[in-house]
């Protein structure tokens, strides 16, 4: 397996677009981790005497309606964007994989029941399901993560199940069973490592969807509460002043777009390098 990953990394670096995407993602990750050092100003410091200043010095990307520095808010907002997206995809991928393994490995009635449940969840578009869950659970970062995570379960469940169904028919799985391996051993030692590449690709592709979901929920006012900076919230706040200070909403939107573009380019490259089969799934 190790050799496969090495080859994948090399293939990834050869593709210029994937490498660029990866660089953008690593850059945003670094900014998020080093936010206190990178941000030039306090992201929540209000001063009405400098409200809605256009981009320039000393506020490189301008200020908002409370006179807060937009660049610093974008820097701190990257933590929300990446943190919520990563945590929710971990939840979605974990539960989705459990469902996928349970359904694909056991087959029969449990498989049928679990997949019908996934179908039912799929009848709700991801964003709509997340909105519904946040509404029922209440606001807050934790509930936001749970809502976006749960809304992502069916995508993972279906694709992992498909992989398990395919792999469990291979001869070496039969051989392991013939040698008396337990179900747990077969799943952990033989199935999981082979599902892992697909899972990695799917996670990288779904993270960008999760980032857009978080931004959309914050834009609608159902995400992170003000004054904490979130990119989607900043775009929403800026829309009120679009004609006076267009940078207020257009600049944070560019940040979302750059991060999602980076993730998409990286994810596309990863998919081509690791698992070309996923291309057909339309993910």
């Amino acid at each position: 397996m190790r050799g496969d990953w090495g080859r994948a990394v090399r293939a990834l670096l050869r593709r210029r677009s994937a490498a660029c995407g990866g660089a953008v993602v690593i850059g945003v990750l670094a900014v998020a981790l080093l936010a206190p050092m990178v941000a030039p100003h306090d992201p929540v410091d209000q001063d009405l005497s400098r409200r809605m200043k256009p981009p320039g010095r000393p506020y490189l990307l301008g200020t908002d309606d409370f006179g807060r520095d937009i660049l610093s808010r974008i820097v701190w907002g990257s933590r929300v964007s990446l943190g919520v997206a990563a945590a929710s995809i971990v939840i979605g991928a974990s539960i989705g994989s459990l469902v996928g393994f349970a359904a694909g490995y056991s087959g029969g009635a449990p498989d049928h029941a679990l997949m019908r449940a996934m179908d039912i969840m799929m009848a709700f578009p991801t964003l709509l399901l997340a909105i519904t869950l946040v509404t029922v659970l209440g606001r807050g970062v934790g509930n936001l993560v749970v809502a976006i995570g749960v809304a992502n379960i069916p995508q993972f469940g279906r694709i992992v199940r498909g992989e398990v169904l395919r792999i469990k028919l291979f001869d070496y799985v039969d051989a392991a069973r013939g040698l008396g391996a337990s179900h747990l051993r077969i799943i952990v030692r033989h199935l999981l490592p082979n599902v892992w590449p697909t899972l990695t690709v799917l996670m990288s592709l779904r993270v960008s969807v999760a980032i857009l979901s978080e931004a959309s929920l914050s834009f609608l006012g159902l995400g992170i509460r003000a004054p904490a900076p979130s990119w989607g919230g900043m775009v929403a706040e800026g829309q009120k002043f679009l004609l006076l200070a267009p940078w207020m909403s257009l600049v944070p939107g560019l940040a979302i777009m750059a991060l999602v573009l980076g993730l998409n380019l990286f994810g596309d490259g990863l998919r081509d390098a690791l698992d070309p089969r996923l291309r057909a799934e339309g993910t």
Binding site: F124, V235, L250
Partner: protein
Amino acid sequence: MLAFLIKRFFLLAPALAGAVTLVFVVIRLAPGTPIDIILGDFKDITPKSTIEAITRDYGLDKPIAVQYLYYLRKVLQGDLGFSLLNDRPVVSVITPHLRPTLMLAAGGVGLAVLIGVPAGVAAALHRNTSVDYGVMTLAVVWLSAPSFWFSILLIYLLAYKVPVLPMFGGGPPGNLPVELYYLILPSVAIGARSAALLARMSRSATLEVLGQDYIRTARAKGLSQRLVVYRHGLRNAAMPIVTVIGLDLAYLVGGTVIIETVFARPGLGKTMIDAIFNRDYPVVQGCVMLFAAGVIFVNFLTDLAYAAIDPRMKFS
């Protein structure tokens, strides 16, 4: 064909029942009693007798299985409860908002198909040329742009800087030409992402088909490029494209919530968001169910489209 239609049609019922059940489960999962959810902030000012009446009306004093049957019966009767805001039946609150949303979804998909499919096919036919790179670059950029941000950019550029299109609203109801005029910007905003997705999918589907043996045979027969592409190529590339249109329409239905909020269009999505902020949960529930029903219906239509494109599907 008729047997296929009937079979698919009867699969709609379990799907709808599943969606309605999920809504029931989600509401029961929420912290607090269903009364808290139904009444929200109004609970403290609601008279005790009313709470008891609601408890009886929804069967909340009965075991959960009985509650579920009560709930199913009500939904089947088309009774989605009453709005907490004005006491009107939820059904009559939300139905007037259906039209703007349907128009938006149709406009978005229409634009996406008209732009995305030809662009993707062109990219495939001119593989590895500047046409291909141009289309694919635009597509990946568009796929990454958040729809609410793209909407705001469109408003800024085409309703303010160059004021040719209306900034927000749905236009006067009933006046179709003006409504269509108001529909242009929101349709572009919601359709751009789908167009990008369709362009990518159409490109790879076309490339795959063009690599098949029967295309080589058609070429060997001396058919013109145009006949090869249109008669033999596109029809076979249509299946995956229709799949993506169907899948994406479901995504697009969710996206109407955002677009309608940005453009202040009086549709179902905006009604739902307004209801969330008003804590008018029966209306929220009604909207969610209607959205799910819409997605299930779209999946049904996608199945029908399969059968129309590929006669083999009818027998499988």
